[in-house]
Symmetry: C2
Subunit: 219 residues, 2 copies
């Protein structure tokens, strides 16, 4: 599949020129982050919960405590969506109306399933940790069975999706370009600062190479 | 009011020690950003839409086109919530289970109303632009009546809310502190890069002081 099918749930109406249903483009946006916004309905209100995630193929994995109200609710109702957004810039136009932001955002719709098997759960938790910092999992102590038992791992299969990308400059009204008003873009980035070692042994240990690599790539 | 009242909709169950209902603390988190995640229900699914906002007292203002599906839907159903989150760090523990992030997040519940009056609408749009970059509005050309007419401005009155803040270091199992595993926090920040002038006149203009101030404060 190269493009997600369009239907009324995922079709982009406002700013359709910035929309895409391209699977590869959507995956690139998903792989650039590790934090998603999961929607669920509680007491007839939609509530959005930020969560860590990992992507593998057309699956998104999230997790939490076995008592997590939101995860239990969406597993039962199958009613959710997942949003990921990266803010890339402030678009400062000559008029208020044309102020905007540059961004990459994705909204995903799909089905949900609880992962029961311990080997699968462990593999998924590894993916979630590594989506945050690549290669982090292998430096950790293995998970205990009792830790797996109290962790709820949910697999979300993407059935349809859409993305919106704005990555251009200011778009003002034609007649406004003559005004003596400064306009432009302020690029916005999420960066990492130098890792701070925990008290105790890490203070005298070298920071592992994969964490320094993360810092160098994101500083 | 110093604290929002707790009820089943906003009470924090997981990590309650990190939760707060303090109005001032919640306002500080809201004032540190300009991008919120608005939940709405479409076709019985909860969907999350990123939007710019401004806060004034216990009001959150959002806006969009008069045809905006989400805004029209929440105005009619009164069923929404608003989430704001700032990511402050990656918490790299000695075990997978204790990996976490440092963050400040807020979830708001409340009532909605459409703003009809042009003076009020203009004042609110000014606040939304200025929440993005302080003092930006006064340097722009005034809005046209026809622009106001095609803009839907929505006032959300916060009725109850909760925040969660994690701003501490690694919290591992007691017996894991002896392991030879590096642990620590990688601070994460959202930063601004140097403003890029639009083609035309701005290329030869000085960048306005308030935009340089924004850059200096956020670089």
């Amino acid at each position: 599949m190269e493009e997600y099918q369009q239907s009324k749930i995922n079709r982009i109406k406002r700013g359709a020129n910035r929309g895409t249903y391209n699977v590869e483009k959507i995956n690139v946006i998903l792989d650039a982050g590790f934090l998603c916004y999961v929607g669920y309905i509680y007491d007839s209100k939609p509530i959005t919960i930020p969560m860590a995630y990992a992507r593998k193929d057309n699956k998104i994995y999230i997790h939490g405590s076995t008592g997590n109200r939101m995860l239990l609710s969406i597993l039962e109702s199958k009613s959710t969506s997942i949003t990921v957004m990266h803010l890339d810039g402030l678009v400062l136009a000559r008029s208020g109306l044309h102020h905007s932001v540059n961004y990459r955002s994705v909204t995903l719709f799909g089905d949900l399933k609880k992962i029961e098997n311990d080997t699968d759960k462990t593999d998924i938790l590894k993916r979630i940790v590594n989506q945050m910092v690549p290669n982090q999992w292998n430096s950790l102590r293995p998970m205990y069975k009792k830790e797996l038992d109290r962790t709820l791992v949910v697999e979300f299969t993407i059935e349809t999706a859409s993305a919106k990308i704005r990555d251009v400059g200011v778009a003002d009204e034609p007649e406004d370009y003559d005004l003596n008003i400064w306009a432009g873009v302020v690029p916005i980035k999420q960066i990492a600062e130098y890792p701070i070692a925990d008290e105790g042994k890490p203070k005298s240990m070298e920071i592992p190479q994969h964490i320094l690599d993360y810092y160098e790539k994101n500083k």
